[in-house]
């Protein structure tokens, strides 16, 4: 029994040492690969200003919310109508202390407008049907930013 255990342990020790050596080899290769990133994928970041870097990271979402920042009072409340949570969460981060509330349906839009005294409604990447539904309900002029985003002053 002891011999059997000792054989099993000896096998495990050999396995551990083999794994350790393989891990070391892999780590060196990946470290060299990491260093190479400084000369390849990271060069484009050097020399950019913060606005350019954030635009590159977050794309059109950042450009849009950043443009709203200077147009609204810090006490404003906004409703964003979108199926996706990302623009809502990103807008919340960029615009704070301006408050953003997320609505995923016309009923939620109505509820937020009623309860939060919102001054702006953003239709963010919603379907044409949902957009038409909201416009029928609000009957207000709409400012189209691009094919995905529209803004309505409430």
């Amino acid at each position: 029994m002891d011999t059997k255990n000792s054989k099993k342990n000896s096998f495990l020790i050999k396995a551990i040492l083999t794994i350790l050596i393989a891990w070391l080899g892999l780590s060196f290769i990946r470290t060299v690969n990491n260093f190479s990133k400084i000369l390849t994928e990271e060069t484009s970041w050097i020399g950019m200003n913060t606005y350019e870097k954030k635009s590159k990271l977050f794309g059109a979402d950042y450009v849009f919310f950043d443009s709203l920042k200077n147009q609204l009072a810090s006490s404003s409340n906004i409703v964003i109508f979108s199926k996706d949570a990302k623009p809502y969460l990103l807008g919340r981060y960029i615009l704070y202390p301006i408050k953003i509330y997320h609505a995923k349906s016309l009923n939620e839009v109505k509820s937020v407008i009623l309860n939060k005294n919102a001054s702006l409604l953003i239709l963010y990447n919603v379907s044409n049907e949902s957009r038409a539904e909201v416009l029928r309900y609000l009957k207000k002029p709409i400012r189209v930013i691009d094919q995905f985003v529209s803004v309505i002053r409430l």
Binding site: A15, I16, I46, K53, Y96, K99
Partner: protein
């Protein structure tokens, strides 16, 4: 300029904590370990300072926060200057020198990465740094913030960011990523110092290099995942486990006091920290009963109260995530799916290289050799917890597990790598390539 100021604040945090350790006459571990521990203690003390200033009705401002930290650090520097030692690079072997230079280059790479881009991690801008920004701009902590952000996590990480923003005088979501980098570097320092004390210098450099070159840790330390709390948890879990090991050796009251303080801090980082520190506490109680660790019921009680503060505040103020108000749904049926996700994560070379393969094989060896101990039980228990939590998940458990298992495993990975390597060392030290 902000980057230089934040680096200064981080070094000051190390020295602030180190001074506290010196004043309290804690004698465990090497000088390097005390610096790493000092960063944890300094981080915790700054968190407490921010809470105290707010609780007594004063406003956070740079002078009020900076002065006590600077004063204590300066006193610590003056009183302990003579005791500082230096690592003698000339004494290192060829292998150690090579690994040392590689580690320094690696840390330099992560530092570069952490300063080149602004915060980009989803949970960083939707939760951790979002709350910091709100508390800084509002100059207060309100229940409304928690409701608005729908967050249930404790305050230590965001409040340290508020401390940085107060000194900077603005929100800088690029410079703040240096905090994650510093936790990465301190994980390396804590791991190396402890391994060097318990094994050989070559082996210490080897394991530290393997740990710091793990891609998931690099990502959280300075690339696209930095700015969240997972690397902070990794650091505190590592420090807790090392302190537990040292407290068992020393049996001193002060080592127990610092261990319990660090455990209380771990419970203030993420909710997972409450579970982790509770497991460690059960192990401590066991060791206290059999007389292997110092016994002090008042300290134990203080730890329990500190650990329960956050869950109690959530109940009292009706914050999101209160256990008494939740109606958890148990989905036992998905256990196998979640276990499979965790197992596949162990094999994910992209994230971990061969780290978990090494840990699983080594643990199997230690269990087969009947060398199991309290530390291994804590590590295994925490891994089981990371399966069980998904059974109570409010969102689709499988999607949830797929999304965050790699982040949960990072909490335990550095501590598991360091401790299992220490336990394994006597069995493998005869190998030529390790010496």
């Amino acid at each position: 300029m902000n980057i230089v100021i934040v680096l200064f604040l981080l070094v000051l945090t190390v020295y602030f904590g180190y001074s506290i350790i010196k004043f309290m006459r804690l004698e465990v571990g090497s000088l390097f370990f005390k610096f790493a521990l000092g960063f944890g203690v300094g981080f915790g003390a700054i968190y407490l300072l921010m809470i105290i200033i707010y609780a007594i009705g004063l406003e956070w401002n740079a002078t009020l926060i900076f002065f006590p930290i600077f004063f204590i650090s300066a006193c610590g520097f003056i009183f302990s200057y003579k005791h500082h030692k230096r690592i003698n690079i000339a004494k290192l072997s060829g292998k150690s020198t090579f690994l040392f230079i590689t580690i320094i280059l690696l840390v330099g790479f992560v530092l570069f990465e952490s300063t080149i881009r602004p915060l980009s991690a989803w949970d960083g801008w939707s939760s951790w740094q979002m709350r910091a920004k709100a508390m800084y701009l509002d100059q207060k902590i309100t229940t409304g913030q928690f409701a608005y952000f729908e967050t249930e996590y404790p305050l230590a990480v965001p409040l340290y960011s508020v401390f940085v923003y107060e000194i900077l005088g603005e929100v800088d979501d690029t410079a703040i990523l240096l905090v994650s980098f510093f936790f990465y570097a301190m994980i390396g320092l804590a791991a190396f110092s402890f391994l060097r004390e318990k094994t050989s210098t070559n082996f210490a450099f080897l394991i530290t290099f393997l740990l710091l070159s793990t891609q998931n840790i690099i990502r959280h330390g300075g690339r696209y995942e930095s700015g969240m709390a997972d690397i902070v948890m990794s650091f505190f879990v590592l420090i807790t486990i090392i302190l537990l090991h040292l407290a068992l050796e020393k049996k001193s009251m002060m080592s127990l006091a610092f261990l319990l303080f660090v455990m209380a801090l771990t419970s203030q980082i993420k909710n997972e920290g409450i579970v982790f520190s509770s497991i460690v506490f059960v192990v401590i109680l066991y060791y206290a009963v059999i007389g292997r660790i110092a016994r002090n019921w008042l300290l134990y009680l203080l730890y329990i109260v500190s650990m329960l503060v956050w869950p109690l505040l959530k109940e009292i103020y009706g914050l999101p995530g209160g256990i008494l108000r939740s109606t958890p749904v148990l989905s036992v049926g998905i256990f196998v799916d979640v276990a499979k996700i965790q197992f596949l994560q162990y094999l994910n070379i992209q994230n971990w290289n061969l780290g978990w393969v090494y840990l699983i094989t080594s643990t199997a060896y230690l269990i087969a050799s009947k060398k199991i101990n309290g530390v291994i039980i804590i590590i295994l228990a925490q891994l089981v917890v990371y399966l069980i939590i998904f059974l109570f998940s409010s969102v689709d458990p499988v999607t949830h597990a797929e999304g965050i298992t790699d982040r949960l495993l990072i909490h335990i990975f550095p501590a598991a790598t360091v401790m299992i390597s220490v336990f394994l060392y006597p069995m493998i030290k005869r190998q030529r390539f390790l010496n």
